[in-house]
């Protein structure tokens, strides 16, 4: 049911693991099925210089987390906020319809991380 790209990211997740010196962590849970994603970011000059994740969830949740970190790395905060679940799913060569909700989770996690980072410097997403 999963594409080869999903399987690849599930078996070899990119940017996996806790980041000890993260500038911000976005923690989010999936109301649909009860899973969790944490996104860690390091930011310099409003650019995501490093990113990693930890996920408690299905193969799709793990693969979308992994793909999200690939898509977000090196982007400005403003660009990174534009990453949609559709873009993540397309980069993974599609997800089964019942698994689309898992891709929300990764994008939400990144949004939260960025908001937390901006909050630390007294800014909001509107200021970008």
């Amino acid at each position: 049911m999963y594409s080869e790209t999903v399987k690849d990211h599930f078996q070899n997740p990119r940017n996996l693991g806790e980041m000890k010196d993260a500038d911000a962590i976005g923690k989010t849970g999936n109301p649909t099925c009860g899973d969790l994603i944490w996104i860690y970011i390091k930011v310099k000059d409003d650019i995501i210089t490093d990113i990693s994740f930890k996920t408690f969830g299905c193969a799709a949740a793990i693969a979308t987390s992994s793909m999200l970190t690939e898509l977000a790395k090196g982007k400005t905060l403003k660009e990174a906020l534009k990453i949609t679940r559709k873009e993540i799913a397309e980069s993974l060569e599609g997800l089964p319809p019942i698994k689309m909700h898992c891709s929300n989770l990764a994008a939400d996690g990144l949004h939260k991380a960025i908001e937390e980072y901006l909050g630390k410097t007294g800014r909001t997403v509107e200021d970008l």
């Binding site: 999963y2 599930f10 078996q11 997740p13 996996l16 693991g17 923690k27 649909t32 099925c33 009860g34 899973d35 969790l36 994603i37 944490w38 930890k54 996920t55 408690f56 969830g57 299905c58 193969a59 949740a61 793990i62 019942i98 909700h101 898992c102």
Partner: protein, 389 residues
Amino acid sequence: MVERVNLNHAAGNPVDKRVLKGMLPYFQEFYGNPSSVHIAGRHATKAVANARMQIVNLVGADTKDRIVFTSGATEANNLALIGFAYRNRRKGNHIITSEVEHLSILNPLKFLVKQGFEVTQIPVDEHGVIKLEALKEAITDKTVLFSVQHANNEVGTIHPIQEIADIAGDAKIPLHVDAVASAGQVPVDISDLGASLMTLSSNDLYGPRGVGALIIRRGTSIQPILLGGGQEMGLRSGSENVSGIVGMGIAAEIAGKELEANIRHLTKLRDRLIKEVTTKMEYTYLNGHPSHRLPNNANIRFSFVEGEAITLYLSFEGFLVATSSACTSRTLEPSHVLLSMGVDEAEAHGALQLTLGRDNTETHIDHFIKALPPIIKRLREMSPLYPPS
């Protein structure tokens, strides 16, 4: 290709070779319809009657009981509940069941509730055993039926069915036993139980899919839910699936004959599997009753990880298993059985349902207990819940 190891027999058993051999002539040589009076018809009638006897013998029924063949256990459960409730409506509208029944029990009951029936679902304890006190307390003067599973196919718990039957008997309430998970796994005797109705599935006995049976004891009346030509004593219209019925009969006969040997074989594998897996890894627990459990079932949960991910990693290495995780259910909800046992939602995510079969060997268990720990370790390292703070 990696060798496949099937630890997911609950999803389907291979048809026993002897069963298949016995069925084959009924596709071309003896394709008659039991409704025909000619010789081919009579041959088919005889074959179906023979299969009924084989079912009677497996579960200790009486030759006077009606064995109604259906398209499977789901239909048999629907027929038992809806057919009984409608036929006995005058006597009362209250049905008692448990929280951990199969969906082919719970969903027909939901339908009946919409038709004005009342249903009480009895909770279970932490091992998944139906609470007998609650069962007694639920009885009212409107209660017309108990519908209870003998064993739970998901977590493997065997309920104290004789005690449940005695409670039903004392209150003079007919009992329907869903014996799909238990028949062929442990001894089942409908006469000892004094049950009125019993559901069986062919595939769970290593017979073909698409066949099941409802046993209706003498003195119990139900009405049909499929209307048509009046086959199966008027209780299940539609031309008989003769080859399937023959297959189910043979499967029942073999299951009865080889019951003891299978219990020995499976119990040994199961106990080793449970022991090795739960002692080798931390935060790993058995779901279901530690001793009153089906010989073929080991349901084990791994904290901090999700079951679909475990299942998929295992399948890359050739192991076929199932999980009760919300992520794999059609509704994205955790298993109602685990929730009813008090397992919390996050924990329910990491439950693996391992169901053994006659074809499993010690070597399969060796391989599995070697392959599993690195997978769990890897997923835990990915999980924000691990290590627990």
